[in-house]
Symmetry: C2
Subunit: 443 residues, 2 copies
């Protein structure tokens, strides 16, 4: 009987293994996609694209035992040769090629210059050709950093006693009313796609005290802006036994600190490729919603038009204000008006026109909405009535409250938005692997 | 200006902090939900349910400065008192209560005995009352273990150079044809929910070499069995530059070893609660599909009815065979017939009626389907034609192959099924937080 034992080491070397090799002239076997070929006649530079970066391989007539003209850009190959140092090569090493085995070949020339540092194609083309445009070294680096963000979020919360949950995306009714929900048919019954895991994560606070989820959410919003997507990844957490909604902001600050520390430690290469300076997150200023509006109105001489909401321009100016005054990239804006928050938001007992809630702005853009929730059943029923809503379709959610729930709150962070702001991109589609918007359903 | 600095330590103590406390009689503050109250007159035992387990608190007339009759089961409370050792208490400690602050109260009595070790309710009731039935200590332990599985999967793959991706769940066409897809309307255009991230993860092999995703998938299958769900969490990976499909089985074996090691290390308490013995995964036998059918047919005297597929009963017997003959809980069944595999599966060059693919059975149930994929564009187009399919709606997927793809393969593991088999449950709904099936769309 043959057995599989979990041997995952390969004969071919990763870039980091090559960089760790100290012996000059070691025979190595490597593989990769041919990123570029620069043919100089008797010498040719064949740069391989590997997952950890680029590796220069050198063809030399007489030494290399193959015809360089048989190699094509975008082929994938396995190369044997001698590993030598070369300060001029990417990462300071190169492989003097002896043999090449072609693993696969393209059938058409590349329509965009993916090997250029900046491809110079517009966003629509980039997105249409996602399968190949992401092969560009800068493009793919964005999504390595996105991985680091998700990972930093999870690792921190595991350490703080949170349980990871998986809640259903198909349901019978939404958390915040029926607007903006994608509708579908579920075995001849009407159903909707979840616009957030809100109800489920709250219910699970009664079970695990602290929970988180990193999963897609769906918003059928009809506006096409640079900061909206109709499907995105939401980093959600919800925690019980809070003393106040400040506990949630402290936890988010801890999460952000964890993310930045992880990026610095494990994603330095990608940060360097994209020239990203990590923001300072040792302390984040907090300001009341009404106070923030006033500060910005005064400093930038801008009338307050809508006292109940922040216009994008105002968010931007709040970001500018706290950058100028405190050198801060993040700011917590607290006590949003009840009018603009969902029914489950806890009103401020000191003034019920405001809620114990917050947004976190990062460089002038909202990346998080959070706050304390109502945990008392009777208060929740009163709030529903006050909002002119009924409990229809919410019975299973309300059940958790009927049977006792601790004081709790939580938040949701938009992963692609956070990535966009961190990388200084202008459009959230730049930091979404395969964006979905009003006009885009493919690739 | 007030700043948030990431202070997440609380004055109240977690169970693990209490257990680490060596000083007898230390004054502590704790919180939790009242799981049970056993009132003996001048003494009462108030057991708190905390996220890490149960904590016994003791009311004593004269010592405790409150009226125990004011406490209700399912209330959440904050307690102060002295921490003392007591071998008879859960976890060997208890708190001699001094004061209690009630944080919240239930409005209705609990309809099921959640504090019992086994609740004794049927599955339908359990699922209907999910918000409270999961408060049972055994029920919630299942999902802690599920967390450990997901975490072990991710941690191992991060370490092996995989990049985590987030692919869209709303799309225009499915990976394996249009059958079994949920249909929806996307801004007046027809759309479907992804039944797997197959196309996207393959495309991303051309970018990152190795990728994984842990996300929901949607299957509109009309059968209601104990092992099927219409929405589940799929643990997917895809890897390039493989030498053969054996590399994928080696990687899965590594993943399973990582999961079991993590469960043993960090989830021992939950394993003990559920009396789970972890399976041995140091080596997993592999057997050809046709050979497996023959072995089982001979040993158990069972005629082979369908040479192209495994019936559930056959899968079960294969599991039994390898348990009896080799003491193995897992088995890789390889070389499934081409007929039953999707178009992108790589046929075996030695015999094209079979594919370079496998299923992983765990205690007689398929938990993984995987294999090598076709990476050559022309071969892929021929296979499509042979299967009577067209490339309509697949242009973006095929683009990756036009421009060169390394040899690659991957797999998908059903998280809830793996959990079910590990815990010895009979129905996959037992290990799904909020299952979706033919008749269940709530909670």
């Amino acid at each position: 009987m043959e057995f599989v034992t979990g041997r995952t080491e390969k004969e071919t070397k990763d870039l980091s293994q090559l960089l760790a090799e100290e012996q000059e002239g070691t025979e190595v076997k490597v593989n990769g996609a041919i990123h570029t070929i620069r043919d100089m006649g008797t010498v040719a530079f064949v740069v391989l694209r590997k997952r950890e970066g680029l590796l220069q391989c050198v063809y030399q007539e007489g030494v290399s035992k193959f015809d360089v003209n048989e190699l094509k850009e975008a082929s994938t190959v396995e190369v044997t040769g001698k590993l030598v140092k070369n300060e001029k090569a990417p990462n300071g090493i190169e492989v003097q090629m002896e043999t090449v085995t072609v693993l696969s070949e393209p059938v058409e020339p590349m329509p965009i210059p993916i090997a250029k540092w900046k491809m110079g194609v517009n966003l629509e083309t980039n997105l249409d050709l996602r399968a190949i445009s992401l092969r560009n070294v800068r493009e793919r680096a964005k999504f390595r950093i996105q991985e680091g963000i998700t990972r930093g979020f999870r690792d921190y919360l595991y350490g703080k006693g949170f349980t990871e949950i998986h809640t259903p995306k198909i349901g019978s009714k939404g958390a915040e009313g029926g607007a903006n929900m994608f509708k579908m048919e579920y075995f001849h019954r009407p159903a909707v796609l979840a616009q957030s895991p809100q109800f489920y994560k709250q219910m699970m606070v009664g079970v695990f005290d602290r929970v988180f989820e990193t999963a897609p959410v769906f918003r059928a919003e009809k506006h096409n802006t640079k900061r909206h997507l109709n499907e995105y990844t939401s980093l959600d957490f919800e925690m019980g036994y809070i003393d106040s909604f400040a506990d949630i902001m402290e936890m988010e600050t801890g999460v952000l600190q964890s993310i930045m520390a992880l990026l610095q430690k494990d994603y330095a290469k990608e940060l360097a490729i994209l020239k990203v300076d990590l923001p300072k997150v040792d302390k984040i200023p907090q300001v009341r919603f009404d106070e923030a509006k006033k500060l910005v109105s005064e400093k930038y001489n801008r009338p307050i038009r809508n006292p109940y909401d922040l216009e994008p321009e105002e968010e931007h100016l709040i970001g500018q204000y706290f950058k100028e005054e405190y050198g801060a990239d993040f700011v917590f804006v607290t006590h949003y008006p009840s009018k603009k928050r969902p029914f489950y938001a806890m009103d401020d007992p000191a003034d019920e026109t405001f809620t114990l809630s917050f947004d976190c702005l990062f460089r002038g853009l909202e990346i998080t909405t959070g706050g304390q929730r109502i945990h008392d059943y009777n208060m929740l029923m009163e709030k529903l009535e006050k909002k002119g809503m009924t409990d229809e379709g919410m019975e299973y959610y309300l059940m958790a409250f009927k049977h006792g729930m601790p004081p709790h709150g939580g938040l949701g962070i938009g992963l692609e938005r956070l990535t966009m702001q961190l990388l200084g991109e202008e459009n959230v589609r730049e930091t979404t692997l395969f964006p979905r918007d009003l006009s885009r359903l493919e690739p």
